[in-house]
Symmetry: C2
Subunit: 306 residues, 2 copies
């Protein structure tokens, strides 16, 4: 089952870090771009080739230390059919390397249409889980839930997102808590349909690392949901900030970092240590640093609790 | 300006009907499938070719009687890179024929990512407008709003959707009306940034035809927003149901019909009149029928008002 596999992978690697494969072409090392553009030209095909080769390097460097990767489809979709091909190829390569593959698609539409999205992603053998948007209502989630059960996949429903302006709708106060709390009640209800042997459900929630106090409340509302936590690193959240997304066993959450990991070779911290040719090693170093910081925050929490 | 162009097209054609190009492969005439499969095989390439050829037939048959087409991307996305190619080729063909092209993508993500989606769709010369999902908050709409103004495009923000279960989140009651009313207040505020010379904004709203009473309230909250109205036909709404989406000038809304139009040749009503070879004429007949019914509802409303 998806949730069991994910929890096992997190425990085995002692790391809840997910690497976000969001390959912005302008930040990809020149040598990769040159090779791809020489082959296909500086066009959508050349760019997609560069992104895929860049991703392969990252995956080779981190597959043994992280449980999963998250692929943000927008960075591929922008290059049309060629980009989409690079997206699926990336998923395939990550899957081959034994990684759990999360496609960050945030789709949402009426059930008839959602069926198509679910077929495109959840029914693809290289993709293990997707993110979806709940605004259109519970009935629009039925096709995804069906495929989670039928094909043993995972689902992460947007609850409280990491952006500064996420409150516009999510923080509106209703008779029964905020909107995001209402979504959390719904996720909790749905999550019971896909509970694994370890107590966690294959239907989880997206909860931004940037909202620490909200995470504490959400952790209580959705005890069996795994949280996919964006916002770490480039978006400003620290290991201390994400800690409330984890349960008392230091499980139940995965923390994504994209730019800060994959473009670590350009960062203040690593740029003098790794050249652009070593971008993948820099990413690995950043992942291990992040792993250390989160595990350190676990220790600190334990200490405070005593 | 997008809104001016759309209103002019509606007036010129005396028709607020939008044809939804949602080509389900199982409903496409056999002769089109055979030709495409003979050329490319019964695979994503063959299916995408069949969808594109089917769409061309529909576009040729309706371009002079409707102002716009709406392309639901999920029906293409499900066939990967080949499907995406058929999606863009369909948009291009419709644009060449002088139609306003709405890409129904319902995307929504943090601003950084939304920029990519906006680049993929709003910055494409063949696409005039897209639909987006507001759940992640006002700040996530900034890139789309920027491109609406910069590239003279249109935006339709989900407010109250047509599905039975749309109430889960949209109908939650807050201190200041329902969630969908709150979204409507936001749309009204944003819509002021892109008002055309005819008084309508290029930033509009998606309001389901299936919610008549809600539409009446929403029409008041968003006086300058153009409503994109799904739910007519196959989803059960009639011309009388959609009438509240229009303002007192019988403008300010476009009504989409997908299946009921494009697969009219299979319907009880038309199947004895048109063969599968005449699927496009059947679609045209259905569009003209729909146009008549909506115009008839306008007349009736006027009569009741007197």
């Amino acid at each position: 089952m998806f949730s069991d596999n994910l929890i096992h992978a997190i425990k085995f690697k002692n790391n809840p870090t997910v690497v976000g494969l969001d390959p912005r072409i302008e930040s990809i090392p020149e040598f990769i771009k040159k090779a791809a553009f020489n082959k296909y030209g500086n066009n959508t095909k050349g760019i997609s080739e560069a992104m895929y080769n860049f991703n392969k390097g990252i995956i080779d460097a981190v597959f043994d230390v992280v449980p999963a990767v998250k692929i943000q489809i927008a960075f591929y979709e922008v290059y049309g059919a060629d980009g989409i091909e690079a997206f699926y190829k990336t998923a395939e390569y990550a899957k081959e390397k034994g990684l759990i593959v999360i496609a960050d698609v945030k789709r949402g539409d009426i059930a008839d249409v959602a069926e198509m999205y679910s077929k495109a992603y959840l029914q693809n053998p290289s993709i293990d889980a997707i993110t979806i948007n709940p605004y259109m209502g519970e009935d629009t989630m039925t096709p995804y839930i069906h495929d989670v059960i039928e094909y043993d996949k995972g689902l992460f429903i947007l609850v409280k997102t990491s952006n500064v302006g996420s409150g516009t709708i999510q923080n509106l106060k209703t008779m029964n808590g905020t909107v995001y709390e209402n979504v959390a009640y719904m996720v909790d209800k749905i999550s019971k349909l896909a509970k694994g042997s370890l107590g966690y459900s294959s239907i989880g929630a997206v909860v931004g690392a940037t909202y620490k106090e909200e995470a504490k409340i959400l952790r209580k509302i959705m005890p069996s949901a795994i949280f996919l936590v964006p916002g770490y690193g480039a978006q400003g959240a620290t290991a201390e900030d994400v800690i409330n997304c984890f349960d008392e066993n230091n499980l139940g959450a995965i923390v994504n970092s994209s730019r800060k990991v994959i473009f670590a070779y350009k960062s203040q911290y690593w740029k003098d240590v790794y050249s652009e040719y070593e971008y993948a090693q820099a990413a690995r170093a950043e992942v291990l640093l992040m792993m250390g910081m989160i595990n350190n925050a676990f220790l600190k929490r334990r200490y405070v609790a005593c």
